[in-house]
Subunit: 277 residues, 2 copies
Amino acid sequence: MSQLLEDRKYAPVGIFDSGVGGLTVAREIMRQLPKERIVYFGDTARVPYGSKSRETITRYSRQIIHFLQSKEVKAIVVACNTASAFALEQLRPELSVPIIGVVKPGAKVAAETTRNGRIGVIGTEGTIGSQIYTTMIHQHNPKAVVIGKPCPLFVPLVEEGWLKDPITVEVAQRYLASFRESEIDTLIMGCTHYPLLRSTLRGILGEQVNLVNPAYETAQGLKALLMQHRLLDDGNGGSEAPRYQFYVSDAAEKFKHFANSILPCEIEEAQLIHIEE
Amino acid sequence: MSQLLEDRKYAPVGIFDSGVGGLTVAREIMRQLPKERIVYFGDTARVPYGSKSRETITRYSRQIIHFLQSKEVKAIVVACNTASAFALEQLRPELSVPIIGVVKPGAKVAAETTRNGRIGVIGTEGTIGSQIYTTMIHQHNPKAVVIGKPCPLFVPLVEEGWLKDPITVEVAQRYLASFRESEIDTLIMGCTHYPLLRSTLRGILGEQVNLVNPAYETAQGLKALLMQHRLLDDGNGGSEAPRYQFYVSDAAEKFKHFANSILPCEIEEAQLIHIEE
């Protein structure tokens, strides 16, 4: 292995999301790959992405990827379903480092583990409208029936902190009603906020429906990708910079507070940058 | 009056908002000032503003005001409560045209019409956190008791179209509970989406609470401002450009569809621009 490759494996992984939701993916990567360094970017000045157009999300994602590359990341994780749906394939050819999104790993495990071939997907308007989960699931299981449902109120309900509130249960019952009739046995939580509603979703759908959290599969996919490129960090080198670095485009203190409520480690600082410049 | 001033009065009024909400203000201006030309900008690529910081909202507002000035507007209406709260006073000295927000007109009428001196204000986290309504009300009625309550779920509920839905009623009951105990006789709907929830709010608070829609007062304030500056359009001149022009930073078709559902006229086009450039 060349010196260059030796050095590269100690470079950080870049992770980005529209805001705080992608921290559920970062958390899973910290758990499964504790030796990896991370540079996280949350686009809190332009959040949410879920209701915006493909062109806009692609432009935003391109700006963020440029920023992450300026931090010399060795790989990029798109920890946002909407950005994975809209921007990933278009941006891949522009990149010199490997990139992975959250959609493909989640779709693969759902396609492989469903027993009756009936899979539900919940996500933002953008993710569901793109039909990307259907396309990806069919690559592994062409006969699967995939039923998508946008759930635009879930993100604001999570951000209000009403995770198990009766109002949230009522909203979830409304959104999930069609799934109960269509007899799915697998539901992909296709937005990074949704795993925080897991127990509410579980209560409505019952134990017979398997809830897929793409964050877990994405961390596994990242590990495979890093191994394939011989970029897995062995923890024996690298700079003296903090293992985990956080950047946001707005409201750094609020971000830090939220991050500290869900990450396994205490973060000391989230740095504010103007991503559009 | 100079030729320059004669020409200026036929220039359009610039109106901006974070997205579609400000159309309720534009609608009121169309009704009260039917001879005025309008250039409307909705920042649909970066919506919502209500949860973002003062610095970010001020930067966005400055970009939009530059755009509106490039359209040679004769006056600017900040049709967004959060931008009025955070950015208006800071940007006023940078401007060569008069500017008016939605907060001051709404605060003034509430301060002058309350009978028991107890006023409620609902709005975004940004608007309520800024305390701007309290400050503005106290300028007219220093003894008024002002009680603010952020209602972050109201905008997504309106955008989901659940205006009179039982879930929306339940959310509103939760948010408004403290007002019923505090015996307000006036409630300012301090976010441009909220007038669309008027009948739900009315049902909870009853007939004895006066609901103030700042849009109405803002149109009156604009008329006074234009008269003061001798800029009121008499309808006898001006260019052959369409009377009403709409610009957005994302999702122009969706915007057009929404606009046509609430405006008194049919709009043919919303033009997409990259506001951050």
